[in-house]
Amino acid sequence: MNDMSNKWIGTRTIRPDGADKVTGRATYSADNTMPGMIWGKILRSPHAHARIKSIDTSKAEALPGVKAIVTAKDFVDFPLDKSVMLGIQDMRWMARNVMAKEKALFHGHPVAAVAAINEQVAAEACALIAVDYEVLPHAIEIEDAIKPDAPILHDWVQHEGKPSNIAGTMVLKTGDIEKGFAEADIIVERTFTTRPVHQGYIEPHACTVSHAADGRVTIWSSSQGQFMVRAMTALLTGIPQSNIRAIPAEIGGGFGAKTIVYLEPVAVLLSKKSGRPVKIVMSRDDVQRATGPAPGSLMTVKIGAKKDGTLVAAKGEFYLQAGGLPGSPLRGPVGCSFAAYAIPNILSTGYDVVSNRSKVAAYRAPGAPHGAFAAESVLDEIAEKLGIDPLDMRVRNSAKPGDKAIYGPNFGDVTFIETVDAIRKHPHYKAPLDKNPRPGVKRGRGVASGFWYNAGGESSVQVNITEDGNVVVTTGHPDVGGSRASIANVVAELLGIEHGRVNVIIGDTQTIGFSNLTGGSRVTFASAMVATSACEKVVAQLKDRAAKIWKIEAEAVKWEDGMALPAGDNAGKFPPLSLKDLAAKANEMGGPIGNQTQLNTTGADPGFATHCVDVEVDVDLGIVRVLRYTAAQDVGRALHPGYVEGQIQGGVVQGIGWALSEEYLYDKNGKVDNATFLDYRMPVCSDVPMIEALVIEIPNSKHPQGVRGVGEAPIVPPLAAIANAVYDALGKRFTALPMSPPKVVERLEQAD
C-alpha cells in the first residue's frame, strides 16, 4: 500500500477540522463553559526559593463569593522516598510541581488555589491567603547551582555521596575514549551554553472541570494526551480513572509542554470541594513563569578526527537544567548528539541539575537541539581545520544500517547521507554568496545535521461505517497540526472512497481505547499503522458480506475503488456492491460494520535532517538575519505533504528563535524579568524568510505506508547551522546562545 500513484495518500487534501478552525468555531480549552461554573485562580510563590512554614486560608474562606480553597494537603501524598512513575514522569515531582508542598521552588510556583463566583473575587481571595515563608537563598544558573557552596534545593538529593543539585546522571559509552583520542590527528574541544527557551504555544493552559455529586468527573482541556490528563489527575486526586472523562479540546500548540498537567487536578479538587464546575485559565504571565520551558544547558564537547576527516573519538558532558524538580531530558543530548555518526569511541554523560526555575517540560526533540548545537559546531570547526567540506565529512562518517547505535539498538535504515546529499545537490548550497555585500554587513553560510529517535507506542482507532455508507474514524491522539488530515488520506485510500466521505475525530478517554501522548514524532506513524490494520479488517468484513450476498466464498471477492467485485471470472458474474450498498444491508447480513484496533506500535526508525542557512550580520548593531533556509529531512512517507512541510518549517523557525533571540531573563531575586511576548522575543513574520522544506521519502519498511516521523528532527540542526553560518560571516565562533544583538556586539568587541 505504499504506492506513489496513490489517489489520496500524499495529496494535499483539506483537513477535516479545517472549516471550524478558519471560522472561529473550533473550541479550544479556554472556549468552554459549564452550567453553574465558577472560576479558579492559583496563588503563586513570590519567592524563588522558600520553605512553606504554614498557610492560613481563613481570611480568604470568609470572603463572600469564595467557594473552595485547596493546598498541597488536599492532594494525594507522594512520599519523597518512593518513586511512582507514569511514563517518564515521576509523580513525586509532578505532584509538587502542580502544588508546592514542603518548599516553593521557583517564583510562580503554585502554593494554593481558590474557586470563587468570578475571577475578581478569586483574585481577591488569593491575596487574603497568608503564607508564612522562610525565604532561602536561590540558584538560577547551572554554574551557580553546581558550585560547592550552592544553596541546596532538596536535602534528599545526593551526588557522589554529598548533598547536591545534581539530581541524576546518564552515561552512554562505547569503545575506549582515551585510546580513541590518542589515535586522533586533530582534537577540538569547546564549551557551550544555551538559555532556557519556552515552547511558546499561543494558547495558555486552561481547563473546565466538573466533579459531580456521584463522584464522576468531566475534564475539558487541551493537552497532548487526554489519557495522560486522566491518569495524572487520577493519581494526584485519588479518583479512579473509570470515573474521569477527559475530553480533548482543540489544542492551540504544545510542542511537548502539554504532555504534563498543571491545572486539571487542581480544578478537580476545587470542583469537588465547591460542588460546582470550575474553570481555570492561565495568563500569559503564568505560562511564561510557571510552565515549560526547555532547559538551558552547559555542555563541553570534544571530538577527535584523523587527517582524512574520519572521526575516531567523541566525548560530551551535558548539564541540563531541570528546574525546581528533577527530570531534564538527558537522553536528548546524551543519546542524539553523536548518533548519526559511526564513531568507535564515545563517552557521553548527562547531568540533571535542579535550580530555582520552573520545572522544564518537553520541547520538540527534547534535549537534542542542545547537543547538536555543541557537537555540530565542533564538527564544523574540525572540517574547517582539516580543509574538508563539512557535508563531505558528514557523509564520510555516517552510521550504517546494522551499526549498533550508542543508545542501544542496532540501526535499521540509516538515511542520513540522503539528507546530506539533498543539501549538497541543492542550488542553495552551490549558490554564490557575496560575503561583504555592503559596508558594515557580512554574510555567511552554515550547515548542520540532526538526529531524533522517533517513536511508536500505544494507539487505538475505531473505523466505523455509517448506516449511509460513509466512514467515521475515531483516534485517541490530539491533533496538533494535521494528523486528522493524514489519517483521512490513509482511510480514504485503503477503503477506496472519496476523501470527503471520511470524517476523523478525536475520541475522549471514555470513548476510545488507550492512546499514548501526541509527542516524539509518533502520532502519524502509530495512528496510520492502527488505522491501516482496522481498515484491513473492515475490508475483510465487507468482502465477507458481499460473499454472503452472492453466496460465494469470501476469497472469491476483491475490494476495489470502494466496491466489492468478484475476484475473477470463475467467481461468477455479479454487479459490484458499493460501500453504500453493503452498509444498507449491514443489519440483515450480520450487523454493523466497523472495527476497533489497539496496538503497541513498533518499528519507528530514526529521523535524520540536514540544514543549510545563509545569514547576514549587521556588525554595528549585532543583528543577525536569516536570508535563506533549506531543510532536508527523510520522513519516510509524507501522508499529507502540506502538513509535513509545515512541521519542518515550523520547527526551523522555532530553532531560529532559539538561536537568535529567545531567552529567559531573571532579576536578582530570581524572578523572571521578561514574562511577556514583547520581551520574550519569538520570531515574527517579518523576522524570517521562506523556509524551503526538502521532503525526502525513503519508505520505512516497518510501516504500512512507510512513515518515519517528522515533527522533532527539524528543530535539531538550526542552532548549530546558524552558529556555523555566523562563524562563516564573522570568523568568530559563538558558543553561547542566543546570538542576540547585544551579545553579538559584545563578541565582536572581544579579541580572539
Binding site: D17, K21, V22, Y28, A30, Y201
Partner: protein
C-alpha cells in the same frame, strides 16, 4: 460595581451588552457575547490572536475597553465568511495548509483581510510586515505568507 450599557454593531448586526469599566472588548466578546473565535494568547497586545476590526481599523481586542465599543462597528472572525461561503483567505488557508494548531488563525485571517483591503497587491515583504503583529508558533509563517499572496492574486484577478 455599576455597569455601563453599550450599544454597538458586531459583524453587521446590532448588539447590546452591559459591562464594567475594567473589562476589555476581548473579555466581553469571549464572555457574555459568546464569540470565542477571537482568542486570547497574551492579553498585552503582543500576539495578535485577538485581532478584530473596529470601524474598519485593525485592533487587538485585549487593548480596547469594552465601553469603547459604544457606537462602533466591530468585525470578528465569526463574521468573515458569508454564510456557507468562506472568505477567499479562509479557503486559501485550508487549501494551502496555512494553519496547524489553528489558535492564531482567526487573528491572522482578520489581519490579512485588513492588509489586503489597504493593499490589494502586496509584496512578500509587505505581507510579512503586515502580519508581524500576529504570532504563529506552528507554521514558521511560510505557508501563511504564500496563502496571503496567492489570495491577493486571486482577488485581483476576480476583481478585473
Amino acid at each position: 460595581m455599576s455597569k455601563t450599557h453599550v450599544t454597538t454593531t458586531i459583524n453587521g448586526e446590532p448588539m447590546e451588552f452591559l459591562t464594567d469599566g475594567a473589562s476589555s472588548l476581548l473579555d466581553v466578546l469571549r464572555g457574555p457575547l459568546g464569540l470565542t473565535g477571537t482568542k486570547e494568547g497574551c492579553g498585552t497586545g503582543d500576539c495578535g490572536a485577538c485581532s478584530v476590526t473596529v470601524d474598519g481599523r485593525l485592533m487587538c481586542a485585549c487593548l480596547m475597553l469594552a465601553v469603547e465599543a459604544e457606537g462602533k462597528s466591530i468585525g470578528t472572525i465569526e463574521g468573515m465568511a458569508q454564510g456557507e461561503t468562506l472568505h477567499p483567505l479562509q479557503q486559501k488557508f485550508l487549501e494551502m495548509a496555512a494553519l496547524q494548531c489553528g489558535i492564531c488563525t482567526p487573528g491572522v485571517l482578520i489581519s490579512a483581510r485588513s492588509l489586503l483591503e489597504k493593499n490589494p497587491d502586496p509584496t512578500e515583504e509587505e505581507v510579512r510586515f503586515g502580519l508581524a503583529g500576529n504570532l504563529c508558533r506552528c507554521t514558521g509563517y511560510d505557508k501563511i505568507v504564500r496563502a496571503v499572496l496567492e489570495t491577493a492574486a486571486d482577488m485581483r484577478e476576480s476583481a478585473r
